[in-house]
């Protein structure tokens, strides 16, 4: 059974995409208002996901801040978190729930546990929450029942579901439109939050999973083995770069000039690449390479690169690098650190 569990971990390792990089305009007040939030997915089967906090000026790390504040663990497997309007949404894919806390204090507010099935990522548009859900597994590891749950943020109820293509994953809001990547297909889907209808989409290579928007308003889509640059104004795909396999995570620097992505190819060291937003070909040389990289984030303030590393199935380590890829230092994290949120 140990091996069966490992196969899940392995599958997750393949499928999980990390890094939540928000440009948060909040005016900070609480204990966790300024600094770096570390999302630790937890070990599948142990439901021991945690959220950690790192203060880059004092260089101190605090583990499991939810437990410290609320004297209770969430008990879940955290795919991602999303912060908006001084609320942080902790997305627990194994518990099929979202725990809502005050962003700056991490005080518990509410739990959304109806209408979600393997929730993955969240965005907010037109005052409503949009949560990508894998739905239940179909035969032969397919995800035919994927959907987006629309959440009323006043009472935290799921008010509507939108059926999508398979394995709906990364989700983001740009210019009032919702973009969602169907990772078990070759489609990015566009949703109009006025009527919650799918209004269009883009064909990509197989396995689109996460997005960033660059400084010129272009949408970058990370796919399983490709990186796609889309002009969303003229609805045109500009470039489709072939990249190393096992693409996991994508991040962008403060002014949107540099895009970073993490690849974990089959049976080879993990690699972080850096590409500038005007590039016409993908870099061949990795900026950073190493073992067991699980999550990636870039601090928009100073372009410090944060790499989440799982030490086997044990608690992880966050390694910090400067924008040139020189290692700065490291600090301890929880198990399977898969992403970051930078707060200023």
């Amino acid at each position: 059974m140990k091996k069966i569990k490992l196969s899940y971990v392995y599958m997750l390792a393949l499928l999980v995409i990390a890094s939540a990089c928000k440009k948060d305009e909040e005016v900070p007040k609480g204990e966790f208002a300024t600094g770096v939030i570390v999302i630790n997915e937890g070990n599948f089967g142990d439901a021991d996901g945690t959220v950690g906090f790192y203060d880059p000026s004092a260089k101190t790390a605090t583990q499991d801040i939810y437990q410290k504040v609320n004297n209770e663990t969430v008990s879940g497997t955290f795919q991602s978190i999303y912060t908006f309007d001084n609320k942080t949404y902790i997305i627990d894919q194994s518990g099929h729930k979202i725990v809502v806390v005050e962003a700056e204090t991490f005080k518990y507010i509410a739990t959304i546990d109806e209408g979600l099935f393997t929730p993955r990522y969240m965005t907010i548009a037109n005052g409503k929450g949009y949560v990508s859900n894998w739905g239940d597994w179909g035969p032969n590891w397919t995800l035919p029942d994927s959907y987006i749950a629309v959440v009323d943020l006043t009472n935290f109820n799921v008010i509507k579901t939108i059926n999508t293509d398979d394995g709906i994953e990364g989700i983001t809001t740009i210019n009032g439109q919702v973009y969602a990547a169907a990772s078990y297909s070759n489609k990015v889907q566009v949703i109009n939050p006025q009527n919650d209808a799918i209004t269009g989409g883009y064909e990509t290579p197989y396995g689109p999973s996460r997005f960033v928007e660059d400084g010129n308003g272009r949408l970058w889509v990370l796919c399983a083995g490709s990186l796609v640059k889309i002009d969303i104004i003229n609805e045109k795909t500009l470039y489709s770069f072939e990249i190393a396999g096992g693409a996991k995570s994508i991040a962008v620097n403060g002014d949107g000039a540099n895009i970073y992505y993490l690849c974990t190819p089959w049976n080879a060291p993990a690699q972080v690449f850096k590409i500038d937003n005007s590039a016409t070909f993908a870099p061949q040389e990795a900026l950073i390479s190493g073992d067991n990289f699980y999550g990636l984030g870039v601090n928009p303030d100073d372009e410090t690169i944060y790499v989440g590393r799982n030490n086997g199935a044990d608690n992880g380590t966050i390694i910090r690098y400067n924008a040139e890829g020189t290692e700065l230092d490291n600090f301890a994290s929880g198990r399977f650190p898969n992403g970051f949120e930078f707060r200023k």
Binding site: M1, K2, D46, G312, N315, N330
Partner: protein
């Protein structure tokens, strides 16, 4: 839901049983007049060449009382080893002397049982209905027990049934929709015995549970299970000096796997196990010759994905007393393992393991016993270290009132990688080395005589494990590697007494283990685990039992205390320690040929909220009541 599509072994089993019963009855019919001194049942007892090793036995009255429990349940309250339980009735593995789940060998009829593709047994699925004795050999002892004997071994043994015809029925009903039913029938005479039995245990397992901080969450869902099985144990005395013993046990378990707190997955697992042993024993003038054939079929069907194994075992050995103070044993054992699983290339893998072993017991002085055990194993595809062990036992004091023995042992152990470790696709590593250990220990055994029955046994040990296998990510593929070095240091203590006060018979005993088992090397510069305690190894673990018998009444109370356990090797997260109290009251009614025992168990009477594994809820206070009916003529 039974989605199993494997070949059914049941008709074969029934046929075998039927043939055997017929054969035995024919033999019973031919009443022999030859009076045999005693029936030679087992091979060499564990203690004989185990001089110097720490061997503990589970209290036999507790085994008798709690036969409807599983091995996991009994060991978790009656031994100082730590049992990791992934929920109530769920996967249970063992940590012996601070080692991992695959570092303890579980023996049934002298054969290692468990899943060869996982390298471990699920102790929640090992029934005790046919078990009369359980002994634990602490520490490495691969010289005597082969692969897996790094942290220790657990040996289960059945005894010959009572003479004559015996019928035993045991029925109990408990909290959370739990029922246990057992029926056993035996016939025993001078020509041998036959014992057959069946059991069915089930539970809705819908116990109310709380979060780690004590907040009520609701009732456990999707954790119901049943385990059913049939057993046969028999012996046929062929001649004055030779016998044939046949034992078989078939179990079938269907469990909805309890998910972690906060998760709502519902996964189903069906386990099927068929263990059979045919033993021939021939007694010589001062020794014996033994041949055993074993067949083991083990299957896990997890959500429709089926993995199973067939094992054929053949063992031949002799033991011989060369002189009054010198005994030897030697033999050969071979095991052919075949695993069928969709997770391997070609969906199949096979491995042959052959062992040569020899033992020597020498008493150079009246007060001194020395033992030397040697084993060399040969396994398809890689080299196994030569594993010797050397033990001594010195009788330091004997008087009319008490006796003190001093003991010591130096032993090696090894553990062959599992077939999953080697053949899993992707990630299986054919270049793995066996895990290796060295164990050194000294101890004492102090006991009073019959008029003042008490005992105190203490051991301190050091255990080094090298080439410990960890599954680690290599790119996006997880792969097993010989990565870890572990050093264990510990103390084990067992003490107890018996006393009669008027018509009250008192008995009490205590088991305790202090275990410090630390990782010796960081994997790399980012790993903060060097020098840290291994996960799920409690520093302190123990239990205490008090028993009072007054006439036909028996009251037994057991307290269990387990210290905090880290959930990760960098020791940043832990599950808190806990203490539990279980109480049993029973009353016997004896009639001619008949006896009935009524019993009531109250478990976790303090309603403690605890977890064995992080986020796996365990039940609060719960009850079980039952009756055992025995007929013996």
């Amino acid at each position: 839901m039974d989605r199993c599509k494997n070949k059914s072994y049941r008709p074969l089993l029934l046929l075998l049983a039927l043939l055997y019963v017929l054969g035995l009855n024919v033999c019973f019919a031919q009443e022999q007049t030859t009076q045999l001194n005693e029936v030679e049942i087992t091979a060499t007892p564990i203690e004989k060449f185990g001089v110097g090793a720490t061997i503990s036995t589970i209290d036999s009255t507790s085994i008798e009382s709690f036969k409807q429990l599983t091995l996991a349940q009994l060991l978790s309250v009656q031994s100082s080893v730590y049992i990791k339980q992934y929920g109530a009735g769920m996967l249970s593995t063992i940590s012996f002397r601070g080692t991992g789940a695959s570092h303890t060998s579980v023996l049934w009829n002298g054969m290692q049982v468990g899943y060869p593709f996982l390298g471990q047994a699920d102790l929640s699925l090992v029934p005790l209905d046919f078990v009369d004795e359980i002994s634990l050999v602490h520490g490495s002892s691969s010289a005597r027990f082969g692969t897996g004997a790094i942290g220790g071994i657990i040996n289960m043994q059945s005894n010959a049934p009572n003479k004559g015809i015996r019928l035993a029925v045991n029925q109990s009903v408990g909290s959370f929709g739990t029922t246990n039913s057992t029926i056993q029938l035996s016939k025993s005479g001078e020509r041998g015995y036959l014992k057959i039995g069946g059991f069915y245990k089930q539970s809705k397992n819908n116990f109310p549970y709380k979060s780690s901080s004590g907040k009520d969450i609701g009732k456990q869902e999707n954790a119901n299970f049943f385990i059913s099985g049939a057993q046969l144990s028999s012996l046929l005395q062929l001649t004055k000096s030779s016998s044939l013993a046949f034992d078989v046990q078939a179990t079938h378990a269907n469990r909805n796997l309890q998910s972690p707190i906060g998760s709502s997955a519902s996964n189903n697992q069906v386990d099927k196990n068929l263990w059979a042993s045919l033993k021939f024993n021939h007694r010589l003038k001062s020794g014996s010759f033994n041949v055993q054939y074993g067949f083991l079929f083990d299957e896990i069907n997890y959500e429709g994905s089926v993995t199973n194994s067939n094992q054929h075992r053949l063992t031949a050995f002799f033991d011989y007393d060369l002189a009054a103070n010198l005994s030897v044993e030697g033999g050969v054992n071979t095991n052919i393992i075949q695993v069928n699983t969709p997770f391997y290339d070609n969906e199949i893998a096979q491995e042959n393991r052959t062992n040569l072993f020899a033992s020597l017991l020498w008493l150079p002085l009246n007060k001194l016993k020395l033992s030397l055990n040697l084993r060399q194993a040969y396994v398809t595809g890689y080299k196994i270290p030569f594993t010797p062990s050397l033990g001594l036992d010195f009788k330091a004091h004997t008087s009319s009132t008490w006796q003190l023995n001093l003991k010591g042992q130096l032993a090696r152990g090894y553990n062959v990688p599992t077939l999953n470790d080697r053949f899993w696709m992707p990630g299986g590593n054919l270049n793995l080395l066996p895990e290796e250990s060295v164990n050194a220990e000294i101890g004492f055994d102090l006991r009073g005589n019959e008029n003042m029955p008490f005992w105190v046994k203490g051991t301190t040990y050091q255990l080094w494990v090298d080439n410990w296998i960890l599954w680690l990510p290599n790119g996006s593929v997880w792969s097993p590697e010989n990565k870890r070095k572990v050093k264990g240091v510990g103390v084990e203590l067992e003490t107890g007494f018996e006393k009669e006060l008027g018509n009250v018979r008192l008995k009490g005993w205590l088991n305790y283990a202090y275990t410090k088992s630390t990782n010796q090397e960081a994997l790399d510069k980012y790993d903060r685990t060097a020098g840290k305690q291994l996960p799920y190894v409690p520093f302190h673990n123990g239990n205490i039992t008090g028993q009072a018998r007054v006439g036909k009444w028996l009251v037994q109370a057991t307290g269990v205390a387990t210290g905090k356990r880290f959930t990760t090797t960098n020791n940043k997260t832990e599950v808190p320690g806990y203490a539990l109290l279980n109480i049993r009251v029973s009353h016997d009614v004896n009639l001619t040929h008949w006896s009935i025992q009524f019993y009531v168990d109250a478990n976790n009477v303090t309603n403690t909220n605890y977890q064995s594994i992080i986020n796996r809820a365990m039940p609060g206070i719960n009850f079980l009541a039952g009756a055992k009916i025995n007929f013996n003529k």
